[in-house]
Structure formats: structure tokens, C-alpha cells
Symmetry: C2
DNA sequence: GCTGAAACTGAATAGTT
DNA sequence: AACTATTCAGTTTCAGC
């Protein structure tokens, strides 16, 4: 993928905000006709810059009012062990995020759950899949101030 | 909003995965014709179950390869102070998430940045807006195993 | 690489069961 | 509450610049 020019960046900004925006309206927003805009969007998709389009859904309406972060520390750090845990977490839909971090602990996990009982169940399920002792600290979210995947697009002047 | 039936749930599952799925194809997937599906989608949008549609974009392609979590603890916990910090974080596009948590610290912040220099700059910017002493711990993500906003849809049998 | 127009596909509306 | 038919809007493709 070559450089993203000013129009590519406008497209990425618009589609991050409004994923279902018709290409005709997108074209109007960026100041071109539909053909080149369609071609640019297809190019951004093919190049993996745009990785997908997704509806966002209200967690409370879906019966998942509880948001929890779990810090996980493993007593042993073999690559095989990490692979095993990764497979478990990737396939667990209640786990929305999982990151390997540097610092005080190993993994930071974010999960959306229906209730505390489900939290206990999920944690037990994860820990039991790990063949070495592991330590965990959990944090319950009391207020969600911001949650997004939208990346800022630095639009160059011009 | 009344209960979500089996078809509503199928719609939510499909649109979370494929946000630009045409309504005709969505209708085919859920086994109805387009009119009732369109009506259901509009109803889910109006009720705030579907909160939006968004393209997802590759952070590395956007020049933000650095993912950092910051734990923030404030020495004083007035509502006014929280408001001030919240306003700052909500308007800062490099901050993707911010949650008020219970436990060892107050805020958990997630940011996507271009480099460590930007991290130092952002942290300084945030701390300087807070009129009381604050303590922070940061964690740099070494590997992103999973990141999503997709909520599991418990589809009842039938 | 963009424009504009023609042909096609999907969306919206109204009327029917 | 869902289906069908019609009309309108959006997408795609292609000739020309």
C-alpha cells in the first residue's frame, strides 16, 4: 500500500464515523464522483487498511451490563502456554479484548458479562485451562466514559 | 423496546459481523423478505440497540502502532474533578477508551499512538489538566491477541 | 486518475393476504 | 406481521477526457 493521500484520509474518517454511508454521499463529502471513490474504497479494503464494517450494539440492551478488566499473570512463560491461553481467549466471545503487555502483569483481558456469577464462571474457565499457577486481579467498570475503535485521521492541509 | 426475538438476534449478529450487508442479503440470511427486515433494523436503530455502523481501520496503516493502557489514580475524588478529566479525555481522539473502575486505581485509559514520544506528550497533557496530584501506571501492549466490540448474541433455539 | 452516463442492483413505499 | 409489486435511489461499468 502506497501513501494515504488527503482523499483517502477523508474516506477513512467518514467511514469510521458512518460505516453504511452510501458511496454517492461519500463521493460528495470528499469532492469526487462516485467511480474514483468506489475504486479507492475497494483499494483500501484490499490493502487491509479497512479491515471490516460493523454495527455497534448497546451492551445493556444485549443483556451484558457488566464490563470487567482482568489482569492475568502466569507463573511460567513458555510460548506453548501462551498459545494455549490465546486459543482459549480468542474463541471465547465474552472476551472482547486480550493484550499481552509489558510490565507488572502479562495479559490484560476485557470481558462483557451479564452478571457477577458469569464473571466467576468465566475466570474459573480460563484459569482451569492454564496448566500452571496464575494470578489475577479484576476491575469492575463503574462508569464507561468512552469506548471506541475510531482512529484519529491526521488530514494534511490542502 | 420489547424483547429481542430470534430474528432480531440474528440481525444483530449479522450486522455486527458485516455492517454493510445489504438488507436483501440480510433478509435472506434471516429467512424473511426485505420489508420486515428493514422495519426491524429501523426499529433496532430507533430503540438504541444498534448505536451505529463503523468501518474498522488498521492502526499500523494509520501510523499508530503503539497501544498503551494507563491506570490513573487521583488524590482527590470530587465530582467536579471527574467532570473536568472526563471532558478532556472524551475530546482527545488518541484516547479510544476511558473507564471509571472500582479497585486499586480510578481510571483505565486506552490510547493508540504513533510513538513513545507521543505517549509522554499525551500523559503530560492529561496530568496538567488535573488540578490535584495524580499517579499513573502505564502498560505498553506487546502483542494484540484480540480486539473487538462484537457482543455475543445468545440466539435461542428455534 | 477523474468525469459522466447507461445498465444493473438494492432500498423504500404502498397495497394485499 | 410478512409478502409482492412498483418506484426510486445507489452501485457498477464503461466510453471519453
Amino acid at each position: 500500500m502506497p501513501e494515504l493521500d488527503r482523499i483517502d484520509r477523508k474516506i477513512l474518517d467518514a467511514l469510521q464515523r458512518q460505516g453504511r454511508l452510501p458511496l454517492t454521499e461519500l463521493a460528495h463529502e470528499v469532492g469526487l464522483s462516485t467511480s474514483p471513490v468506489t475504486e479507492r474504497v475497494r483499494r483500501l479494503e484490499r490493502a487491509g487498511v479497512i479491515t471490516g464494517y460493523h454495527a455497534r450494539v448497546d451492551p445493556v440492551a444485549m443483556g451484558r451490563p457488566l464490563l470487567v478488566f482482568v489482569e492475568l499473570t502466569l507463573s511460567s512463560k513458555s510460548g506453548e502456554l501462551f498459545e494455549k491461553l490465546r486459543a482459549e481467549l480468542v474463541h471465547e466471545p465474552r472476551v472482547l479484548e486480550c493484550h499481552l503487555v509489558s510490565g507488572r502483569f502479562d495479559y490484560l483481558i476485557k470481558a462483557r458479562l451479564s452478571a457477577m456469577s458469569e464473571y466467576r464462571e468465566l475466570l474459573a474457565q480460563i484459569l482451569q485451562k492454564i496448566p500452571v499457577p496464575a494470578q489475577s486481579n479484576s476491575y469492575v467498570v463503574m462508569e464507561e466514559i468512552k469506548e471506541s475503535l475510531m482512529l484519529p485521521v491526521d488530514v494534511p492541509r490542502g
